[in-house]
Structure formats: structure tokens, C-alpha cells
């Protein structure tokens, strides 16, 4: 298959399929990794995000016709091929709905629909198919593409908090963000700060498979932090390293 303009959206939980958006035809495709099967999903116009539920039976999608049209978020049932709208907002953009590990909750970012490319947003929490939702945090960085990250045990959601929300430069320039990592405990709503960098862009968060450490990017290097501890730079100082992905979790040091 050759699609000149497309982007990857998500892996299926079993690793056998992937989702991607083909831009020129505004289509969302589900493709087997061996390339033998591909399915065009019947999703709304302007679907820009899609993520598998942990059980692989449904997808949560986000869609918008563009600036000034607000957005919608809904579910696509892969067993029957039908989508249902869950939330609409004529004034905001839904971004990065992220399933909890047990599939019972979804964290998502909501940002004002505006011409500002890198605005701040809100972190919300909701149960699938229910209308009610809880506001977890404000001044969350939005627009740069940093999704919230659940701890593997599903007890916390981590996110990128913007330290310079009033900076007009940071609204327009990707690398003028000053940020730190925070997390919210789902049961209590209590927010704690995991990093304390000063005037630094901290981003790209990834929990280790067993949730002991959080890897992230800052100062062109890869760092890890354990909650309550100081972060440690793990990439060589003289190199540029970004976008960490865990393959295996190292054994805890004695």
C-alpha cells in the first residue's frame, strides 16, 4: 500500500493491527501488520484521532471539520462497524482520549478552538458512554501533542503542565514551552508534581511497564524519575536524545 500523506494513530492491543489516517481522502484505515487485510472505518468527516480500547473491541475517535467548528468524540464498535457520538463541543477541541488500563475510564484533553497553535487546555476524566465528567487539571499543555499517560495500575494519570501559560511566545513557538510533569490520583483528585525543572521544556512521558519509573525528554536528553525522587538523566550528556519508549523494565537497583 502506498499512501503519500498519512499518519499513524495506534496499535491494536494484540499488536496485529494498526490504525492510520489517510489525509487526502480523509479516511481512517485499520490494517493488519502483514498487510493482507485492510478495513476502511465508517467514521465522521475530519476524524483526526483514534485509539483502541484495551479489549480491542472498540475505538475512541476524535473529529472536527476544522478551525471554528468545535469537535466531537465518540466510539466505533469494531464488532458491528457502527460509530456513536459521545461528546460534542462547538467551542473546544477534544484531544488524546486515553483509555485507562482496565478500559473503565478515559482521560482526555480539552482546549479552546482557536488560531493559537500551542494553547493551554484542561485534563478531564470520564467513564465511557456516561455523560458526566470530572475536571482533573487546568493549564495543561495542549496543541503540542503530548497525551496524558496512565500508570499501569490505573491509579494515576500523568500529564504535562505548562509553567508559562501567559507566554505569548510559548503560544506560537513549539520550543518555548516551559513545563513540568504532574500526576493526578484518580481516587482522590490529588495533584502532585513529579519534576521541578526551571524554564525547561519537559515532555514525552512514558511509564515503565510495571509503573516504577517514568521516562521523559528534557534538555535534549532522556530522563527517568520515580515519584518522590529526583529525576536522573540516562542518556549521554553530549548527545541529543528524545522520545523514550520502554522495551523492558530494568530490575530495581539494590
Amino acid at each position: 500500500m502506498f499512501y503519500p500523506r498519512s499518519y499513524f494513530l495506534d496499535w491494536s492491543p494484540d499488536g496485529a493491527w494498526l490504525l492510520f489516517r489517510e489525509i487526502d481522502h480523509d479516511q481512517i484505515w485499520l490494517v493488519s501488520v502483514d498487510g493482507q487485510e485492510r478495513l476502511l472505518l465508517d467514521l465522521p468527516v475530519g476524524t483526526y484521532g483514534a485509539a483502541f480500547a484495551p479489549d480491542g473491541r472498540q475505538i475512541i475517535y476524535t473529529a472536527s471539520r476544522g478551525l471554528g467548528f468545535g469537535s466531537e468524540m465518540g466510539f466505533f464498535d469494531l464488532t458491528i462497524g457502527v460509530h456513536t457520538v459521545w461528546r460534542t463541543d462547538p467551542y473546544h477541541v477534544f484531544a488524546f482520549p486515553t483509555w485507562s488500563p482496565n478500559g473503565e475510564q478515559i482521560a482526555y484533553i480539552l482546549m479552546a478552538d482557536s488560531n493559537i497553535p500551542f494553547t493551554t487546555g484542561e485534563l478531564w476524566l470520564a467513564a465511557p458512554a456516561e455523560q458526566s465528567a470530572t475536571l482533573l487539571a487546568q493549564q495543561v499543555d495542549a496543541g503540542r501533542g503530548f497525551p496524558p499517560a496512565w500508570t499501569p495500575d490505573g491509579q494515576f494519570v500523568s500529564f504535562i503542565q505548562r509553567n508559562n501559560p501567559a507566554s505569548l511566545r510559548a503560544d506560537q513557538s513549539f520550543y518555548d514551552l516551559h513545563s513540568n510533569i504532574y500526576q493526578v490520583e484518580i481516587a482522590t483528585g490529588e495533584k502532585t508534581q513529579l519534576t521541578s525543572f526551571d524554564q525547561t521544556m519537559v515532555y514525552d512521558i512514558a511509564w515503565s511497564p510495571y509503573g516504577r519509573q517514568l521516562a521523559f525528554t528534557a534538555q535534549d536528553g532522556i530522563w527517568v524519575v520515580e515519584p518522590g525522587q529526583a529525576p536522573i538523566r540516562v542518556s549521554p550528556p553530549a548527545t541529543v536524545a528524545r522520545h523514550p519508549v520502554w522495551l523492558v523494565e530494568p530490575a530495581p537497583s539494590e
Binding site: H25, R65, G66, L67, A112, W124
Partner: protein, 473 residues
């Protein structure tokens, strides 16, 4: 009556309006006002709407009985006004993501069963926003402009920051369109003010006012953080704004900014002005919060709704708020007095009222309940599903009786688009099977639904609205 479904906790917060100075520099437009006539080009011919064929009666050997002649069915008086809608005529399977809409005007022919559908504007690429002026003489619409000069004007170009939407005014009498010198691309939430000559819109942090007489747009308020929403009052005197965690009013005449409250913030809030501009209701469907602001006193009342999915709309006389709560197998309509937030009446229906699709005229991604007030405020048109049959019904507010008017099985989506200006007809769309859609009208006393427009194997009509007869002398 489900009195337990709603727990209203009323308290009042009085905020003395703090006058804030607002910058009012004149914007120098970067775009020159150019009068542009949109010439029809290869207009898609709309399919002719036809009623069900009349069955042919074959004579048999048995002589027919002699009967009194059956009186010809009398059609109810046709509605006043016409219907405007957008339609992209591309047939399924669709090639590419770009949409090319034509604006059509459906006018009554010889009877309510015969409509004449003609194109007004062609080549409306992307997803235009439309709004008719209050006096029904002009139409505001957005159009994509080739802002980056690459020779194409596309929605994808808008999304990538290359192209941009601009504002046009179309005058029904002359058929002429004129671009407004708004000085920016992608105006958000454009809306007419009540003088029929002015519009408001917003950028990311600025609220603008522009007149249709060709003068450039004017900033009337600038905020330090992105604006979440603006909503002009129906009488055009105030613009409600939510930005920086504050809900404020801008006095259009003076530009004065009046901060009302910081209690109401967070995404997902839906602002709804009462038709008389006395009240601003703010409803948050996710958090069950409900606020009511008295625009004269700036008094803020709040209440908590139930966990049911709920929708709010004002009665035409602004004396009642309809709260529709929708559950899996039932719906409750409650009527609230805005002065004290008490329920004056309630009616339960043993079926879920439809949550109407995400295709509105001005805000694409919005949902409303299929419960629409008649213009005189005496009835509510309802759309609901009962045992897989889609039904349209009327709730008589005098008797609180529900009368079913029309039903059809296997309807995928139904959407009440509004009452006719004379209040006698209900305009609705339905989608059935794959790529079949209809735009119909139904008399409030029932009978046959008359098609205005039918589309097969193609896109459904959208941005549908009544065009009342001009109120301009």
C-alpha cells in the same frame, strides 16, 4: 412526574459589574473589500422530490358499486417562507476529502407537495457557516480563500494554516455577494446583531464588530488568554464572553466590559440566551451544573441537575426553560420558571427523545434534543424512538397531552429542523438505509409528510433553515 430527578439548589450571587476599560483601536484590514459575484458553474440539479406514486386501479369484471363521489383530499394551507440548505451532490463512493457545496432555496410551488428547488450560490468549498439576518434580507456565509496563493482553496489548506475562511454577505433581493473586510482569516462564531447591519465574530483573543456598509472591522474587546466562546444577546446589546476563567458581558454600544462571575469556567459549557435577552443560561452537560445570569442585575443563580443526559431550551416568550432529560428508555420534560428555578410542570415520555445529530447551521459539532418549541410557545414538537419505530409527536402545553403525528421504521437519524414561520409545519430531515436522506415537512395536525428534497447515494442536505418572508418594508 419525576420530582426526584431534579434537585435544584438555588442560591444567588450578586456581582457588581466592574467596568474595565477596553482597547478600541481600529483594525487596518489586510484584505481589501472586493465585491464578488458568485457565478453559477455547473450547478448540480437537485433531484426532484416526489410523493408516493398513486396506485393504479385495474378494472375487473365486477362492476364497481355506485358510491358518492369521494371528496378530493384537501391539503392544509402551505407554510409561509422558504427553505435554505446546503448540498454536496457528489455521489458515493466519494473521491477525496474536499467538499463542494451549493446553497439551494426551496420555494413552494402550486401546493405543499410541489417545491421548486433552485441553486443560489455555487462552489462553497469546505464547510460554510451560514446565518440569515434577522430581517431575512441577507445571508452571512463563510468561504475559503486561497490565502497562500497556491492556486487552490481547500479545507485541508485551512487545517494546515495555508488557506482561510473569510466572511461574505449575500443579499437575497439582488443576488449579489460581497466580501467583508474583516482583516483576518477564520473568524470564529460569526453572528448577526439585531440591527441587521452589524456582525460580531472573534479571533483567538479578540472580539470584533463589523458593519455591512463596507467599513473595516473594529476590535471591541481583547483578552489576555484565548476566548472559549462568545454569544451575542438576541437584541444585540450584549456579547457574553468566556475567557481567562471569567464570564463577562461586553456592552456593544460602548465596548464596556462587565465581569459577571468567575464561578463558571471549564470547557463544555453551553451558553443559551433567552429570546428577550434578559437571561443567559449556562448549562454544563458533563458536570450537571446549571447557571442563570440575570442580564439586568448580573445576579447569578445556580442549580444542580441530575445525572441524566439533559438539554435546555427557552420558551419563545422567555418565561420558561425546558429541561429535557433523556435516559435509556424514557425522557422527562420539565418546565422551569427562571425567576425562582422551580418546576412548574413536568411530563414523562416512555421513550428516549432523540439526541439530534452533530450538524447544525453555525456550530457543526453540537447536539440538541429532539424537542422544539412552536413559535407561539403552545406546543413542542418531539422526535423519539419507540420499539425501533421513529416517531414525531406534539406535546400540547395546555393539556400536557402527547399526540403522535407520524412514524417510520428503520430510520437511522431524524432531526427536527424547526417550525415554519407561521407555526403550522414542522421541517425535519431523516436518513435511512445507506446514503438516503430526505428533507420533509409535516403539518402539526399530522397527515402525510411532504418531501422537499430527497438525496440518494450522496450526501444529505445540511445547514437547513427556514427563510421567512422579509420583514424589511
Amino acid at each position: 412526574m419525576r420530582t426526584n430527578l431534579l434537585t435544584w439548589v438555588v442560591f444567588c450571587l450578586i456581582f457588581v459589574g466592574v467596568g474595565c476599560s477596553v482597547n478600541q483601536p481600529t483594525v487596518t484590514p489586510t484584505a481589501t473589500a472586493v465585491s464578488q459575484v458568485i457565478v453559477p458553474t455547473e450547478t448540480a440539479v437537485p433531484p426532484t422530490a416526489t410523493t408516493e406514486p398513486t396506485p393504479v386501479v385495474t378494472e375487473t369484471a365486477v362492476p364497481p358499486p355506485t358510491l358518492e363521489p369521494t371528496p378530493a383530499p384537501t391539503l392544509p394551507p402551505p407554510p409561509t417562507g422558504s427553505v435554505l440548505f446546503l448540498w454536496d451532490s457528489e455521489t458515493f463512493p466519494y473521491e477525496g476529502a474536499e467538499r463542494n457545496h451549493t446553497l439551494y432555496l426551496a420555494q413552494l410551488g402550486e401546493s405543499v407537495a410541489a417545491w421548486d428547488v433552485q441553486p443560489l450560490l455555487n462552489d462553497l468549498f469546505g464547510f460554510p457557516i451560514l446565518e440569515v439576518s434577522p430581517d431575512n434580507t441577507k445571508l452571512m456565509f463563510t468561504l475559503i480563500e486561497d490565502a497562500n496563493g497556491d492556486g487552490s482553496a481547500t479545507q485541508e489548506g485551512v487545517n494546515r494554516g495555508g488557506d482561510g475562511y473569510v466572511l461574505y454577505i449575500y443579499e437575497f433581493a439582488s443576488g449579489q455577494s460581497e466580501k467583508l473586510p474583516i482583516g483576518l482569516y477564520n473568524p470564529f462564531n460569526p453572528a448577526w446583531l439585531s440591527d441587521d447591519e452589524s456582525l460580531t465574530y472573534r479571533g483567538s483573543v479578540t472580539v470584533y464588530l463589523i458593519h455591512t456598509d463596507g467599513l473595516p472591522g473594529q476590535e471591541i474587546a481583547v483578552f489576555p488568554e484565548p476566548i472559549k466562546w462568545i454569544m451575542p444577546s438576541p437584541d444585540g446589546s450584549l456579547i457574553a464572553v468566556n475567557a481567562s476563567g471569567l464570564t463577562s458581558f461586553i456592552k456593544v454600544a460602548t465596548g464596556e466590559l462587565i465581569t459577571v462571575t468567575g464561578e463558571i469556567s471549564g470547557g463544555g459549557m453551553e451558553p443559551i440566551w433567552s429570546p428577550d435577552s434578559q437571561w443567559l443560561a449556562l448549562h454544563h452537560r458533563w458536570t450537571d451544573q446549571f447557571f442563570l445570569i440575570n442580564a439586568a442585575t448580573l445576579e447569578v443563580s445556580s442549580a444542580e441537575a441530575t445525572g441524566a443526559e439533559s438539554y435546555v431550551s427557552w420558551s419563545p416568550d422567555s418565561q420558561q426553560l425546558l429541561l429535557v432529560e433523556i435516559e435509556e428508555d424514557s425522557s422527562t420534560l420539565s418546565f422551569l420558571d427562571p425567576h425562582n428555578l422551580t418546576i412548574s410542570a413536568s411530563r414523562e415520555i416512555s421513550a428516549p427523545i432523540f439526541i439530534q445529530g452533530a450538524s447544525d447551521v453555525k456550530s457543526v459539532f453540537a447536539t440538541v434534543a429532539g424537542a422544539v418549541w412552536s413559535p407561539d410557545g403552545t406546543q413542542i414538537a418531539l422526535a423519539f424512538s419507540e420499539q425501533d419505530v421513529t416517531k414525531l409527536a406534539i406535546l400540547d402545553l395546555l393539556t400536557m397531552e402527547v399526540t403522535e403525528l407520524w412514524e417510520k421504521p428503520d430510520v437511522a437519524e431524524i432531526h427536527i429542523r424547526g417550525w415554519s414561520p407561521d407555526g403550522d409545519w414542522i421541517l425535519f430531515t431523516l436518513q435511512q438505509a445507506t446514503h438516503h436522506s430526505e428533507l420533509n415537512i409535516l403539518h402539526w395536525q399530522g397527515g402525510e409528510a411532504y418531501p422537499i428534497f430527497v438525496a440518494d447515494e450522496t450526501f444529505p442536505p445540511q445547514s437547513i433553515m427556514w427563510l421567512a418572508e422579509s420583514t424589511q418594508p
